[in-house]
């Protein structure tokens, strides 16, 4: 355990913390993780913490979040909480393979293996990297290392644990795998989590990631996930983000798809102080499909930034992105989406849409959808709108005796529903619909059924 001292620049503070605790970091951790640390901290030290001078962070300044003093768990701190007491799953009807992570560490009480098909590995990254390094060898940090985001490098330098999942060839996991990330600490907390998912050819899996803060102290949560999708495999990843207003989350996900594979990913940001979602999809084989959805609701002074990059490196692939934001109070939202079609990636279809509703005069939305096209036989489009609830639609409902407030709620629900209906897990879809309705009514600022009043 270390407390970072103040005064020196924020980036330098982290670098010197790294230098001081190099041994602690390496201790108990596999060589696969340890060998990446030095290079990564150097890259982080060079680039520093991004602010709006960095084109990729034009609309999100991370510096204020890093100004606070945080406690980092460099080694596992056990016996934290009784999970059952503080936390009940907010999707109760859903039958899942459930695992918990606490502050980025895989919770030791998890018994995930029980009902999983044979050969599937689900467990702690730290543990599996030590026990079966051959599984990770060709995958870990293969995509993240290519990123020029210094926050990803920071993650690589400090990463010790997270979840690891391996689905062997042709195996179909029927029940969704639910991963619940809990953040809980009495002090300000900086948590680093590193995840890796390998879906071998022909396999299928649905992963649901739920993030929650169970504390009222400030939190900085830095996660990096790498997902490898083999030939013909189908992977769904849903992320539900629910943090309190003092939190900062930088969630970077890298997907690499082989030919004929399918990816569906959705990020639903219900609540959070500052949320930055980085998403990169690379098509390294032909006939891949990726559907990427995002939905966020913000109020107070919250900020949500979705930053996506779709790399069409192979021909005949399809990508489709829909991002929607509803912004209230003084909240701000940003969307930056980039589609890059490489020179020989002919017959590419790439679509991108960003729709936003501003509910207050102090809310702001900034969006920059981008197309970089170097092939000619392509169909690419992007669209972005910023506006309000359609007055005519509102009139239509009011003319039928529906009160203005209800009518507005209905329309906002309908706006959000386009994204929600893409969720392929039915009970989850219903639950999210309900959560969103409550969120819009202002009835909950914390998750349904959760005993912890973390939403304040």
């Amino acid at each position: 355990m270390s407390i970072i001292s103040e005064k020196i620049s924020q980036a330098n503070r982290l670098v010197s913390l790294f230098e001081q605790s190099r041994e602690t970091l390496n201790q108990g951790s596999s060589q696969i993780l340890n060998r990446m640390r030095d290079v990564s901290i150097k890259r982080f030290a060079q680039a520093g913490i991004p602010d709006f001078k960095n084109e990729d962070y034009k609309y999100t300044n991370l510096k204020p979040s890093f100004e606070k003093t945080y406690h980092q768990e460099l080694v596992r701190e056990s016996g934290l909480i009784n999970l059952n007491e503080v936390f009940k799953c907010n999707v109760p009807q859903l039958d899942t393979h459930l695992v918990f992570l606490v502050n980025g560490w895989f919770y030791s009480g998890n018994k995930p293996g029980a009902n999983l098909p044979e050969g599937v590995v689900l467990g702690s990254l730290e543990q599996i990297a030590n026990e079966r390094p051959e599984l990770l060898e060709n995958y870990l940090n293969r995509q993240a290392a290519l990123s020029n985001d210094s926050i990803v490098a920071l993650n690589t330098a400090f990463a010790k644990d997270g979840f690891f999942m391996y689905i062997p060839k042709g195996v179909v996991i029927e029940k969704p795998v639910q991963i619940i990330n809990l953040l809980s600490s009495d002090d300000n907390l900086m948590a680093t989590q590193r995840n890796l998912v390998i879906a071998e050819p022909g396999s299928q899996v649905k992963i649901l990631v739920c993030d929650h803060t169970l504390t009222s102290s400030a939190v900085l949560f830095n996660t990096v996930s790498e997902v490898f999708i083999g030939e013909g495999a189908m992977v769904d990843v849903y992320t539900i983000q629910n943090y309190h207003n003092q939190s900062t989350t930088i969630n970077s996900a890298f997907y690499k798809q082989q030919r004929n594979s399918t990816l569906l990913t959705g990020a639903i940001s219900l609540h959070g102080g500052l949320i930055r979602n980085n998403l990169k999809v690379t098509f390294s084989g032909d006939h891949c499909e990726a559907s990427i959805y995002g939905l966020s609701f913000t109020d107070k002074k919250q900020h949500v930034d979705n930053f996506t990059m779709i790399e069409h490196a192979s021909p005949n692939c399809l990508s489709n992105q829909i991002y929607k934001n509803v912004l209230d109070d003084e909240s701000t939202g940003a969307f930056a989406g980039r589609i890059h079609v490489a020179r020989d990636a002919q017959q590419t279809n790439a679509f991108q849409r960003n729709n936003n509703i501003l509910l207050s005069d102090k809310a702001r939305m900034q969006t920059k959808p981008q197309l970089i096209i170097d092939a000619d036989d392509v169909k690419c489009s992007h669209g972005a709108t910023v506006g309000q609830i359609n007055e005519e639609a509102l009139f239509f409902l009011r003319a039928r005796g529906i009160g203005e407030k209800d009518a507005r709620l209905m329309l906002m629900n309908a706006f959000a529903h386009e994204v929600i209906q893409k969720i392929t897990i039915e009970p989850l879809r219903d639950q999210i619909d309900e959560l969103i309705e409550k969120r819009l009514k202002g009835e909950i600022s914390h998750c349904h059924d959760c005993n912890y009043q973390c939403g304040s």
């Binding site: 020179r343 102090k362 939305m365 900034q366 959808p369 169909k379 690419c380 972005a384």
Partner: protein, 481 residues
């Protein structure tokens, strides 16, 4: 398919048709840039004191600036000491009629297909010809003077109307706005000045031709258009440069100021030398154009057809300050061979009920890169602002690139902003449809490209639309017929 490939090949190997050098004696100062050069230019032009101060301030700021690198362009390093900053035709007399004009010069314009005398007859266009920086002839001045309209070269304006220039210069593009605007502010040689008094509707379209002639000359012209309350003017600008092997620098500034209920329409056809098909030579075109709608219900519209230049870096913008003001941007940008274009617009909504429309059509062929870059910014006070943007890209051939980089920033709840972009190639079904009706593949491509650009071409004044269509034809459909 074979036909189409042959056709694309023909199109993409077409050479520049306007390459010739007019042999006119010019007055050239030694190349290189320093504070002395700035003073020398100012001195040679007999400028008032405030202008020299303006230039020096810009020069000193420029020294601290760096060439911008954010654009999607590969710009070879430019040696600013290798450029000649002032070149004026040596015998710069003021002609009273066209007959006195150097026949070589007239020949030049004939080759361009826009002979001055013909234009004079054609539609009553007054042409203020800028040939290597100094205005050589100004026509129709009397007709304009009767209405109180001032339309003259920048140097003349500095001598005859210094108070107007002083009041408005730098109002929409401050001398320290960006690297190239600062450079222009320091060394600009000439340009046009246009002042439309209150309530006057300019009876004819004002027009200027810019042309780079002397080898190794940078062209730094500056245009200032002021439209007072309730006035209207339509301004045309055309550019052509003869063939040169070394890259030439062109850094222009255009400022427009529109007061209450004034309307300014600015149309450009840009056809600088794009370099040959191996990417050798060509003009570097770094232009800052900005209009301010200061008054309520004022309107500024930019229409451009960009077919030339090795590198284009140009963002004609509108700052909508007055309530109910309107900004428009219509653009066709065509790149071929190794040309690179990064062009677009900025619409800054500050006043209430402001409106803006952006229509951008990019066409890429050969090994070129064509990017649209735009910003739509709605300030919190700009309630009920409305923007609609449409950016289409058409790709001809598999070695070119088309890119779109829009930025949208909305700061209040009553505004509506829409952006739409598509990228595609000419559909085989479209060509098939035409073939089936007896239209050859060549004609079909010609029709489709022209139809694609028509939405913008229609916004051009008639005389210009003809030329623009011809330029598109030369750049693309020349061999199509």
């Amino acid at each position: 398919m074979e036909d189409q490939d042959k056709l694309l090949n023909d199109i993409t190997t077409q050479e520049y048709q306007y390459g010739f050098v007019t042999d006119i004696e010019t007055d050239v100062i030694p190349k290189g840039l320093s504070e002395d050069v700035v003073r020398l230019i100012s001195f040679k032009k007999k400028e008032p004191e405030f202008m020299l101060e303006f230039r020096l301030k810009a020069y000193r700021e420029w020294l601290k600036m760096k060439s911008p690198e954010w654009a999607h362009l590969r710009i070879p390093p430019i040696d600013f000491q290798e450029t000649i900053y002032y070149a004026a035709p040596k015998t710069s007399p003021k002609y009273q009629s066209l007959d006195e004009v150097d026949p070589d010069l007239l020949e030049t314009f004939k080759k361009l297909g826009i002979p001055v005398e013909e234009q004079k007859h054609l539609a009553g266009v007054a042409v203020d010809v800028v040939m290597d920086s100094v205005s050589v002839t100004t026509t129709f001045k009397k007709v304009l003077a009767e209405k109180g309209i001032i339309f003259c070269s920048f140097s003349e304006a500095l001598i005859e109307h210094p108070e107007l220039v002083r009041k408005y210069i730098g109002m929409s593009v401050p001398p320290t706005d960006n690297f190239f605007a600062a450079l222009n502010s320091a060394v600009f040689s000439d340009g046009s000045f246009c002042y439309i008094p209150k309530g006057v509707r300019c009876p004819m379209e004002l027009s200027t031709y810019f042309r780079i002639n002397t080898a190794g000359t940078g062209q730094f012209e500056r245009t200032l258009i002021v439209a007072e309350d309730d006035s209207y003017v339509s301004y045309l600008e055309g550019c052509t440069a003869p063939m040169r092997d070394e890259n030439q620098l062109h850094a222009a500034v255009v400022e427009i100021i529109a007061m209450d209920r004034a309307e300014v329409k600015y149309s450009t056809v840009q056809n600088w030398y794009p370099g040959d098909k191996n990417g050798v030579g060509g003009i570097y075109n770094f232009v800052t154009k900005r209009g301010i709608c200061r008054g309520e219900s004022s309107k500024i519209s930019w229409t451009q057809v960009e077919t030339g230049s090795a590198i284009t870096w140009k963002y004609p913008s509108c700052v909508l300050i007055g309530d109910n003001s309107v900004g428009e941007f219509n653009s066709v940008a065509l790149t071929n061979h190794h040309q690179q274009a990064d062009t677009g617009t900025k619409m800054i909504h500050i006043g209430k009920n402001t409106k803006s429309t952006i229509v951008s059509k990019g066409i890429s062929a050969g090994k070129s890169d064509n990017a649209y870059r735009g910003l739509v910014k709605v300030m919190p006070g700009a309630t009920n602002a409305r923007n609609y943007s449409q950016c289409d890209s058409l790709l001809l051939g598999s070695t070119c690139g088309a890119h779109t980089f829009p930025y949208i920033e909305v700061g209040n709840k009553s505004s509506i902003v829409e952006h739409e972009a598509t990228t595609s190639k000419i559909g085989e079904d479209q060509i098939f449809y035409c073939n089936q009706r007896g239209i050859s593949t060549e004609d079909a491509i010609g029709m489709i490209v022209n139809g694609y650009a028509r939405e913008v071409l229609n916004k051009l004044p008639m005389e210009f639309a003809v030329e623009a269509q011809k330029l598109l034809a030369i750049s693309l459909e020349g061999s199509v017929g």
